[in-house]
Amino acid sequence: MSTRNLAATSLEPSWSAVRGIRRVWDRIFGPLSLIATLLGLVVLAALLIDVFSDGLPRLSWQFLTSFPSRKPEEAGLVSALVGSILMIVVTAMVAFPIGVGAALYLEEYASDNAFTRFVEINIANLAGVPSIIYGLLGLEIFVRVMFSITNGRTVVSGGMTMALLILPVIIIATREALRAVPNSLRQAGLALGASQWQVIRDHVLPQALPGTLTGTILALSRAIGETAPLITIGALTYIAYLPPASPEALRTPFTVLPIQIFNWVSRPQKGFHEAAAAGIVVLLVVLLAMNALAIYLRNRYQRRAV
């Protein structure tokens, strides 16, 4: 596509009539930005292929049900799996009610005063604190100071630490869900003489629940993949037993999936690397399932929206 000069009389010699380098830049810029976008995806693909090709062969029922061992071929994931599940249950049971309660307060009850703004600043700030710092907090408070309750570096300490970590995420997601509920709904309820809590309990919260659950599941999926804070509070890397089938399980030492992976990666033997890859496959599958559930929930209830 060549250019023609229009109304040639207006052209002055100091202006470039030929758009050579301008055109080149214009032409390459689009594809350049596309390449950049694809670069990340290519690396992602390489990562997934690498992990799955190393890990899939190692995956087996034996792998999922054995304990870790000094011999790479015998190493298994069961204690880490159980530990992860237990910890996530504790995290969910702590973080969900507190997070929803906090969001309800901020969205439905609080007026715009200094306290509210202070809380909001805090939440925004906490979302940006590195996760390892939460580990230090958990170490000092839950493991040391509250030793008599938690019994030290146990499931409940880990669960509460993770709960604090994901609390800002749950609060923010729940607030969005609450904000999405149209005000006309609240007014309709109040206009019938219902109290505020009645309106919230019977109208607002049910409508905001899908969004809240989605946000919570996504937050929990992040918690499952976290390693640094749990290492810091002292989750061990070698657990060769299962916790007792009683509430005392919460007060026993534990390990989680990412830490087990970390432990295996850190060993020199190639056999352990394969075990690590297999562990990663399991972790990614769990994450995929949780994210899929969250997205499914969001889509299912969005269609039903008023």
Binding site: G40, L47, V119, S195
Partner: protein, 315 residues
């Protein structure tokens, strides 16, 4: 009772008032509200807890180690017999990995944001954006595995002197991890630039690329810088990638091919061992944690301040 537009305002919701009487508050409601307020205060408690814990142990640390030594010593050997505590050794490693990560993440993230908002069709955008978000959702321990066992061997073929543990692999992989952060925030900033500004530029005979680089990006700059600062903050606080792939050797260097130890890596190293409470090693990880916290806090506050001060007003 007059019906005004304030009738349903939040502040009036707390009282039951009106022609049917019952102006006294319901006690059950009050208790619930208190409970929810307590939930909200947990966030304040958390911040207070973090600051309190860090200050407490760091103060105890500085009773044994002088602040001057901490800031000026050029060795970091807290676990040896001959203990030295130069924090800048760890900071230099954090700095090195962060710089490498941002060299990757900033151009790629920004260009990806430009592509998604300026060039991509709606369908393409809907497909690519979530795909990029997946990068952000991969657990960092997986990235660590990838850096150590895939990237490092490949880099070794190009750089013969590359050590098995080095900051280059870790930095590069960290950069990939941060791409979605920068891309997503930059895209928001670019999206906010009004159409009329672009039209004004096109009407002067500018090419598309000139409109983007000459008008759109400068107008979105405050948001892009904020994205960059947030990316730095994430890189500084990142733990597992460096713990797995960058090594455990504290040394003050800018050489990306040798093992180093970052602040986060050190905390992990100590936590993996058996450290009695009250020992100097225990307090050391809090001192390092405090340093880390102050740096990321400064970056986060800086990013907010920057946006507030330089946010473009378009009309």
């Amino acid at each position: 009772m007059e019906l005004t537009d304030q009738t349903f305002a939040k502040s009036s919701l707390r009282r039951d008032s009106g022609p049917f009487g019952r102006a006294r508050p319901r006690w059950g409601e009050k208790i619930l509200e208190r409970i929810f307020a307590i939930c909200a205060s947990i966030s304040i408690l958390t911040t207070a807890g973090i600051i309190g814990v860090l200050i407490f142990e760091t103060a105890a640390f500085f009773q044994e180690v002088s602040l001057w030594d901490f800031l000026t010593d050029t060795q970091w050997t807290p676990l040896f017999a001959q203990k030295e505590f130069g924090i800048f050794v760890l900071i230099s490693a954090t700095f090195l990995t962060t710089v490498i990560a941002l060299i990757v993440a900033l151009p790629v993230g920004l260009l990806a944001a430009i592509f998604l908002s300026e060039y991509a069709s709606e369908g393409l955008r809907k497909a690519l954006k979530p795909a990029l978000e997946i990068l952000a959702g991969i657990p960092t321990v997986v990235y660590g595995y990838f850096a150590l066992l895939f990237v490092t061997p490949i880099l070794k073929t190009f750089i013969p002197g590359l050590a098995g543990f080095n900051s280059l692999s870790a930095g590069l992989v960290m950069g990939v991890m941060i791409i979605p952060t920068i891309a997503s925030l930059s895209e928001d900033a670019i999206y906010a630039v009004p159409r009329s500004l672009r039209e004004g530029a096109y009407a002067l005979g500018a090419t598309r690329r000139e409109v983007i680089t000459g008008v759109v990006i400068p107008a979105a700059l405050s948001g892009i810088v904020a994205a960059f600062i947030l990316g730095v903050s994430r890189a500084v606080g990142e733990t597992m990638i460096v713990a797995i792939a960058a090594g455990q050797n504290p040394r003050m260097t800018l050489d990306p091919t040798v093992p180093v130890q970052t602040m986060t890596s050190f905390i992990v190293q100590v936590s993996l061992g058996d450290t009695p409470t009250g020992s100097l090693e225990y307090k050391t990880i809090f001192a390092v944690g405090m340093t880390l916290f102050l740096i990321t806090l400064g970056l986060n506050i800086g990013s907010h301040w920057f946006v507030r001060k330089f946010r473009e007003v378009y009309e």
